[in-house]
């Protein structure tokens, strides 16, 4: 079966010599809910940028459903939706236009776009805020706009880089439910998050990256079964000592 995402020996060295990713390889099966964990600066966002086209890989190969993301980048982009960690939008544009323009970039016709944008605004509870400028929205609403924008092309592979950072508990729960529905419908989801509870709840497979390399990869159950659960497994994999974290009430 062709993997939804295949990254082989990815290297990314920035212009000033900083190594972002160093020989990173991973595979995500179609329909998987894949957690991509790591400390800040480990190479998570760099990997996502290389997959989605925001950064050029220095070397290595990236394929999305078997399509080379560098050689046939237009075909590969068509399959991907990205909700990035940082807000990369025109702050003076309104929520509806932001989602609609993205649909236009993906070549969706005006009639189809209207329906799709209406549905997404409804889904993310943005109808009342559709005509507000992005800069006037709260942090949670901004995050919802990013998610709606990522979904406008109905991507086969949805990449979510810290999608719940800065959102309230209610939205987080709503979003989890929505992502689970999408995944149940067959959508492949690639998620990075610092909330281990979120990853434990949603993901089936996990890869941990540190220093630009994958340091551990496997089914979630393997991590959860370990003493101390996912958090302890994560800290061990990234080189931190789980013991130095004080237990609640200690």
């Amino acid at each position: 079966m062709v993997p939804a995402l295949s990254v082989s020996h990815l290297h990314k060295v920035y212009r000033r010599g900083t190594v972002g990713v160093d020989d990173l390889s991973l595979e995500v099966a179609p329909g998987d809910f894949f957690g991509f964990l790591g400390p800040n600066g480990a190479g998570k966002s760099t990997t996502i940028h290389c997959i989605s086209g925001i950064a050029n890989p220095t070397s290595g190969r990236i394929e999305v459903f078997g399509v080379d993301a560098v050689k046939h980048y237009r075909d590969a982009r068509r399959l991907v939706g990205l909700s990035p960690q940082e807000f990369n939008v025109d702050p003076f544009a309104n929520a509806r236009d932001i989602v609609d323009w993205m649909g236009g970039y993906f070549g969706i016709t005006a009639a189809q776009r209207r329906d799709r944008v209406d549905m997404l605004l409804q889904k993310f509870d943005l109808v009342a805020h559709a005509k507000k400028r992005f800069r006037e929205l709260s942090g949670g609403l901004k995050r919802r706009v990013m998610l709606a924008r990522a979904m406008v092309n109905d991507p086969a592979l949805l990449i979510l880089d810290e999608p719940t950072a800065g959102v309230d508990v209610e939205l987080r729960r709503d979003l989890w439910r929505y992502l689970q529905e999408l995944n149940a419908d067959g959508k492949t989801i690639f998620l990075t998050s610092h909330y281990l509870e979120e990853v434990e709840r949603l993901c089936r497979n996990i890869a941990i990256v540190a220093g630009g390399r994958i340091v551990r990869q496997g089914p979630k159950e393997e991590f959860v079964r370990e003493p101390g659960g996912l958090e302890a497994a994560y800290l061990r994999a990234t080189g931190a000592e789980p013991d130095h974290v004080a237990a609640p009430g200690a």
Partner: protein, 260 residues
């Protein structure tokens, strides 16, 4: 799973234009009113007040002589400011990433920017022609030639603006080319004077100044007055257009200023 992209993403291309036009409409004073007022002042002072005391040039009133140059200066400015600010601000605020993650080819991204550059230049030019008509100075002898010069010059300076927009890392750098190259070269390129009015040593320099050919070309299209062979001017403009197009396409292909 059907992932094949069409040969040309027409809807994507139209969206780039539609989106940038919407951004432009947020700043109509800066985009259109400012160049129209500036042109009005130039036409009034240099063409009408000062010009009435200057003898005819090649059988044309001074106002008719300077109008093509004033028009060209504003087209150049509109084209350069449009593309440089469009690219720079989309990089600065990072919304250029929306285009980078979409199935748009480099050629489509560049074509989208150039289309809006030409649109802005045409609207600016139309406004100036209307203002000039109020002073009884609008005449266009050869419409196809006139359209050619507006399009090719907007394209060349739109492409130059893209390069600067990709290169600039702050607002200061964004204005460098305009201050040190575009404005001086356009002023010595024959906006207000003929070649023969220049001191002899500067005349030869004018032949190496592309603005001279642009201004001369549009002046020929408007009033039929020319100081250089039209073929040479057209060749210079087309060569610049081709070189700049290839350079910008290459910058997009390697991700210069776009992809980290």
């Amino acid at each position: 799973m059907s992932a094949k992209s069409p040969l040309i993403n027409w809807i994507g291309l139209a969206t780039i234009i539609r989106r940038e036009w919407s951004r432009l409409m947020r700043v109509p004073i800066q985009a259109f009113l400012a160049p129209w007022i500036s042109a009005l002042l130039f036409i009034f002072i240099f063409g009408f007040v000062v010009g009435s005391r200057i003898s005819h040039i090649g059988g044309h009133r001074y106002l008719e002589f300077v109008l093509p140059g004033i028009l060209m200066m504003n087209i150049v400015n509109a084209a350069f400011l449009q593309s440089s600010s469009q690219v720079y601000f989309s990089r600065f605020l990072r919304y250029i990433e929306e285009a980078l993650v979409a199935p748009l080819s480099y050629a489509e991204m560049i074509a989208g920017i150039i289309a809006i550059v030409i649109l802005r230049a045409v609207v600016t030019a139309l406004g100036i022609l209307i203002i000039a008509a109020c002073f009884g100075a609008t005449s266009i002898d050869a419409i196809p030639e006139f359209v050619f010069w507006i399009i090719i010059v907007s394209m060349v300076f739109g492409l130059l603006g893209i390069v600067i927009g990709l290169w600039a890392n702050n607002f200061e750098q964004l204005t460098i080319l305009n201050v040190f190259l575009i404005t001086p070269l356009s002023f010595v390129g024959g906006v207000f004077n003929t070649l023969s009015m220049l001191p002899p040593w500067l005349r030869w320099l004018a032949w190496g100044n592309p603005f001279f050919y642009f201004i001369n070309g549009i002046r020929h299209a408007m009033i039929g007055y020319s100081e250089a062979p039209q073929g040479l001017g057209i060749a210079v403009a087309l060569a610049l257009g081709v070189v700049m197009s290839l350079a910008v396409w290459r910058l997009y292909a390697i991700g210069y200023g776009l992809r980290e």
